[in-house]
Symmetry: C2
Subunit: 223 residues, 2 copies
């Protein structure tokens, strides 16, 4: 107590250590294969303490999902300057997304590979995060459509479909980038930006998307 040197840490710090260990273990070994013994050992605490703090394997996993989902959506939102044109916002958002998933592969595995099983109590946590990302992207597309003034009839349903397609493409590419040596976050973002914005037809004709010159480092084009 008091000034005496002790092994005591604030609860928040201990909890963070447990969650770090849990995300790593769940992400690498899967929900079912992961053991609480393993997680406690990696966190450097006793198993009873993990149960005391986080109650059960299930609620520990739910806490992991919640933390990783929040971190990912925040990374994307703070990575985007909303005063930019839609395509630049999308480019920044994709870079933030792939940078975050590359730097947190275990967190991404928890969110995308582990937590999606239908019927689990935690599926709803991931669904909420995904909906937030889809809503964010869909709004960007809707704004871009309004700005272009060309297609006021771009229907809500169609825009929603485009948002779903884009998020699905990003999820798939994040798995691929994390599993493929030498694919950087920037390359993954550039691949998707080219695909999503310029389209395959333009890529084939050698017309990739590129940001306005002088305002950003060149995009690694598909050439």
């Amino acid at each position: 107590m008091g000034g005496v040197k002790s092994k005591r840490m604030p609860r928040a710090v201990r909890e963070r250590q447990m969650l770090d260990a849990a995300v790593r273990t769940f992400g690498q070994r899967g929900y079912r294969a992961a053991s609480m013994d393993e997680i406690a050992e990696l966190a450097g605490v006793s198993k009873p303490l993990v149960y005391l703090y986080l109650n059960s394997k299930e609620s520990l996993f739910t806490a992991c999902i919640r933390r990783e989902a929040k971190a990912l959506t925040e990374a994307v939102r703070t990575g985007v300057r909303t005063e930019l044109p839609a395509d630049r916002q999308l480019w920044e958002g994709l870079q933030a997304f792939f940078t975050h998933t590359a730097e947190n592969p275990d967190g991404w595995a928890v969110l995308h590979l582990q937590a999606r099983t239908h019927g689990e109590p935690f599926a709803a946590e991931v669904a909420a995060m995904r909906e937030e990302l889809v809503a964010f992207v869909t709004e960007l597309i809707a704004v871009a459509a309004r700005e272009a003034h060309r297609d006021p009839s771009l229907e809500e349903g169609e825009v929603a479909g485009l948002g779903e397609a884009l998020v699905g493409a990003a999820e798939s590419l994040a798995d691929w980038a994390n599993a493929t040596p030498d694919v950087t976050a920037r390359q993954a973002a550039a691949t998707l930006m080219n695909f999503a914005w310029a389209g395959l037809g333009n890529l084939m004709d050698g017309r990739p998307w590129s940001p306005p010159s002088g305002t950003d480092a060149p995009v690694p084009a598909l050439t």
Copy 2:
């Protein structure tokens, strides 16, 4: 025996009934929540018979995945006339994909929502199907790039990334289309074709993809 009317059916027919019941139950209720009792009852057979034929819940689920994966990849492959240009092949492939997933929503749920949990013995079954679809799409893109003669340096890694993006977008849209009232397979295919081929940039400017006139019914465009 012989010509006597009996309740006996060929094993293949019974197995198909069991698999039909299993796909429906797993797809709608999830792997864990689904019970063998439920599946046997829906198939109109006894539970011991299900075990006799298919051994365990796990191997029944694996058999479901294998059947549904084969049906989906065959639907896509037979839906594409390989003598057509790449964009038309893609259009036909996407229509076949979304038609199949719309007509077999439980099979699609088994493949995409139920079977992807990392570490499960059946994850490899789905991964194999997905790789086949990615390879198919990636080859289409590579052929299109070669045909265009514009970009011989379109690198293998980049093309692979585009294939992953496209398949991820298709998976996401299939979930969305099956969960959204009044979205037809053709609309889902058109949305993805516009996205993938024309790109958002062109869509914003009112230049959607469209097949050569006169060779196909008009694509429901994003207008």
